[in-house]
Subunit: 556 residues, 2 copies
């Protein structure tokens, strides 16, 4: 089989206006960026506000393993399959960060014959949204440090600045720095550091906002520091709101691209799925639902992270409800959850598959029983899967009452997803009775406990004294009614990446609590969460090259 | 009079293809970015390689003062004036950095009725070129620190890393930092810092390169560090070349926009004019000369900085020669050079004008006698100028044999520049006998001495022992044949910003010497050059705002 970029480069793309036409977007709303990408004017969303919404199909996955599940690829292939059976569809995805592109091999534009295009441009600077977030974030940091330097009229305690800086590169060297060294004119010496841009609160804001007015409100509410008197300092106190909004003026508009088979895709926003909420922008999803009968979207990591955050944070802010869920699993990944080592995953092993199935089952029950949604299990077929394994997995799904369908979209594109597409359409006939897990009025600790015990399967939640204090302080500051966003490892239901399957008898330990007041949620950090990745020993960057004719080589 | 952004917003822009048509660029080569900006495919330059070049009009200025000279505005207004007299023209300008936009009020897109549009987009992220430079620069830094962290096979001395990081924000706090603090897994602790992106060697490379092959060569040649054995380490040793080139794949294509009166403008690249060479990209200028009978371009600061570097660095690398020069001056600025305080500049003062004229005269003689070019003095008229002052200045110009013309392009647009345009056309009838100041074969010190004594009017050059050593080392490493790029204050011919007029009897002190091996020049630093600006007490950012309908307010 050809590599992803070879498949992508062999494909002949349609001009972006043809894709816009297919999505029902008139030329007046299309702002082309090159020949195959466009930004869509926000006026279109306003224009369509009275139109009925389409159906929202949410794609999530079992707990990630090194064996791969293929969630994004399945979402893309499913959209292509809808195209094959001539159903109107629109795809809403997150946009990729540059960091992983040059670090660990792997983009965020699908794979094989299920991709969004132009994959190289989407994976590189795309339409500049992430660069705009970087600029807005760092402008706020510069204004804050300039305030400290120019007399500090607000009385900000330099030791209690909570706003760091960001960069869209994986660079461990910047995690922890002392800045403001040098001469008297070179700022105020203090400890700080950089996160990767997708971990920025501004990225979360961009994805949760509903328009320019709301964007400015949220930017102004960002809590950046505390004063010597322990009072919060907001971005608006630094008069930073307008300038940040101006920098995000284009980034707020959703981006239109195409699948390899010509379905329209809105690719917009990409926040982290642990420290932030891990789903594409509300503006894109809302627009998609106005434009198309069926909208397919997906969130980061497994259903305990991206999906939980979509249901409990995004869906409330967006005023939209999911109609059905696709839960992506693979035989290999389930065998890994059943205890098989990575190098042995190609051997048939029904016993391991059975042991690992508990991971799928918990995700399924959460989606179906907690959130009351129809669920289709998508079995992403790998060449090493045996007929006996595939049959066994299908039976296990049936035994717990779950629909399932085999997906072969990597190898076959849309035609490999027709069975899945039909199962999804079937599931939409089922009555969905979606509701979020908790009402916002509950105290923060009760909300955290509900996610930990009901979704993760923990016995309870333990707090460090630092976390206890922070929770109390945030309730006092009036943040008690915000939804919660738990940052934990994606490699387990628990906060211990080594616990595979469906661990029970464990306690979630929250060691730190922060508010993202502009984004509008309280982050509880369980375990060690890296907000700035590092590069591996042999970075993918070493393999990437540009021919003299401008053609990229070695990108996945 | 309306503000710049009010004038810009009241203007009805032509679709970018209409501007491309006017420039003779077929649709196949136009990659639109929104409705009013486009990137132009490099294939067009190849296509036109056998076409004869147009005439190159180089716009420079007298030594900057707080009174303002209006060089960029004059260049834009002159292009508009060519339009008024129905002469084919194309403008080549630098693209602005975000840093100054949010710091000190003032963009880089002209002013009044001589602007390039869309001014807000050009001043903000434009087509992402500067962000691409930031990403490529910082990727190289991350790869270098990752190399140190992952075992340091090349034996790089962490104390002799010469590659810093960059950000396109004015942020003094980042000038001097210690990075790599924290845990063992958080990198290798060492001193470093950030420059503003336009001071990056990669920006200089982007502007000096002639195509993708050459770009890769130059990127690979960047000298990033020395080993414990005192051997140079290059970007290619870190296998960073291909990935950086991929990040710059779009940035290398020139950007097309329009003047307020519809003339095509290629706005591409914007390196610092002290630490780097301060002129727009060679690719844009070359393309312009193939497309148009007349090309107007300009460089940073006064003729001792941007123009000298164009003549001695750019023109050699580009294989193009200027045909005539416009030297922008104003009555107010000359009075400032004559010793008048900023607040008294509106009062008529012929004696001060006469005293300050020596600054103009030295610039004129350098351009006309050293570089053997025709020169037109553009007197940029301000409302406070009296008829007597304007008349006196015109006579002074005539007395030294300089053509002059009054320009009113700020208040009147193209019609205010017709007199200047006719004088420029006249000057092109004069025989130009351009040649650079020095042959490349001269030793570095002789080249530096020639610039200092012949262009700046110094008596000689003094070197710190550090600079002496560095020069010796660079000659040994084979960099003796590169052109030199002196980084000094723009506020004076000398290295002391307080010395106005045409100072003599002083010595240039070079305190540091570096090679930008990829860009292809040796930088000699005289005086204190800030490569990362700071924000002022009241940053322009505080006044900038975005309306709920997406309209920008307070941008200049």
């Amino acid at each position: 089989m050809l590599s992803d970029i070879e498949i992508a480069q062999a494909c002949s793309l349609k001009p972006i206006q043809a894709i816009a036409d297919r999505a029902g977007i008139a030329e007046a709303y299309v702002e082309p960026h090159g020949k195959y990408k466009a930004k869509i004017s926000l006026e279109l969303l306003q224009q369509l506000q009275d139109r009925a919404n389409g159906k929202l199909i949410y794609v999530t996955a079992i707990t990630p393993t090194p064996a791969g599940e293929g969630k994004t690829t399945t979402a893309i292939g499913l959209a292509q399959a809808f195209g094959q059976i001539e159903q109107p569809v629109l795809l809403c995805l997150r946009e990729p960060s540059l960091g992983p592109v040059f670090g660990v091999k792997g983009g965020a534009t699908g794979g094989g014959y299920s991709q969004i295009l132009p994959m190289d441009e989407i994976n590189l600077h795309f339409t500049g949204d992430i660069h705009a977030v970087t600029a807005a974030h760092n402008l706020l940091a510069a204004l804050l440090d300039n305030h400290l330097y120019q007399g500090n009229a607000l009385g900000i305690d330099p030791k209690r600045v909570v706003w760091r800086r960001v960069m869209d590169i994986s660079d461990r060297q910047l995690r922890s720095i002392v800045a403001g060294l040098g001469n008297k004119s070179d700022g105020v010496a203090r400890e700080t550091g950089f996160d990767i841009t997708v971990a920025s609160e501004i990225m979360a804001i961009l994805c949760l906002t509903t328009g320019i007015h709301d964007l400015k409100e949220r930017l102004g509410r960002i809590l950046v520091a505390y004063t010597y008197d322990n009072q919060p300092v907001y971005a608006r106190d630094l008069k930073a709101t307008g300038a940040m909004a101006v920098l995000l003026k284009e980034a707020i508009k959703p981006n239109l691209v195409q699948t390899i088979e010509g379905q329209p895709a809105l690719v917009h926003g990409g926040p982290f799925a642990n420290i932030a909420h891990g789903n594409n922008s509300i503006i894109a999803t809302r627009l998609g639902l106005k434009l198309s009968k069926y909208v397919i979207t997906e969130g980061g990591f497994a259903s305990d992270l991206g999906a939980e955050k979509f249901f409990d944070i995004v869906s409330r802010a967006a005023g939209v409800k999911p109609d059905t869920v696709v839960l992506v699993a693979s035989v290999r990944a389930l065998k890994f959850h059943g205890g098989v080592a990575k190098e042995d995953l190609s051997r048939e092993d029904l016993a391991a598959l059975e042991r690992g199935f508990v991971n799928l089952e918990r995700h399924y029950r959460n989606l179906h029983e907690l959130y009351r949604l129809p669920v289709v299990v998508a079995i992403n077929r790998f060449p090493s899967d045996t007929p006996a394994e595939l049959e066994f997995l299908a039976q296990k799904c049936q035994a717990i009452g779950a629909r399932s369908a085999i997906s072969e979209v990597v190898a076959k594109g849309g035609p490999g997803g027709i069975e899945l597409a039909r199962a999804v359409l079937d599931s939409l006939e089922e009555a969905a009775d979606f509701q979020p897990l908790y009402p916002l009025e509950l105290p923060l600790k009760e909300k955290l406990a509900l996610v930990a015990t009901r979704v993760y399967g923990a016995e309870g939640v333990a707090y460090t004294s630092q976390a206890e204090q922070a929770l109390k302080r945030l309730e006092q500051l009036g943040y008690g009614n915000l939804p919660v966003c738990i940052a934990k490892t994606q490699m387990s239901f628990s906060d211990d990446p080594a616990l595979k399957g469906a661990p029970s008898g464990w306690t979630l330990t929250v060691r730190e609590v922060r508010v993202l007041a502009g984004a509008g949620f309280v982050v509880a950090i369980a375990g060690t969460i890296l907000t700035m990745p590092g590069l591996p020993k042999v970075p993918a960057a070493e393999q990437i090259d540009l021919d003299d004719d401008g053609r990229i080589r070695g990108l996945f």
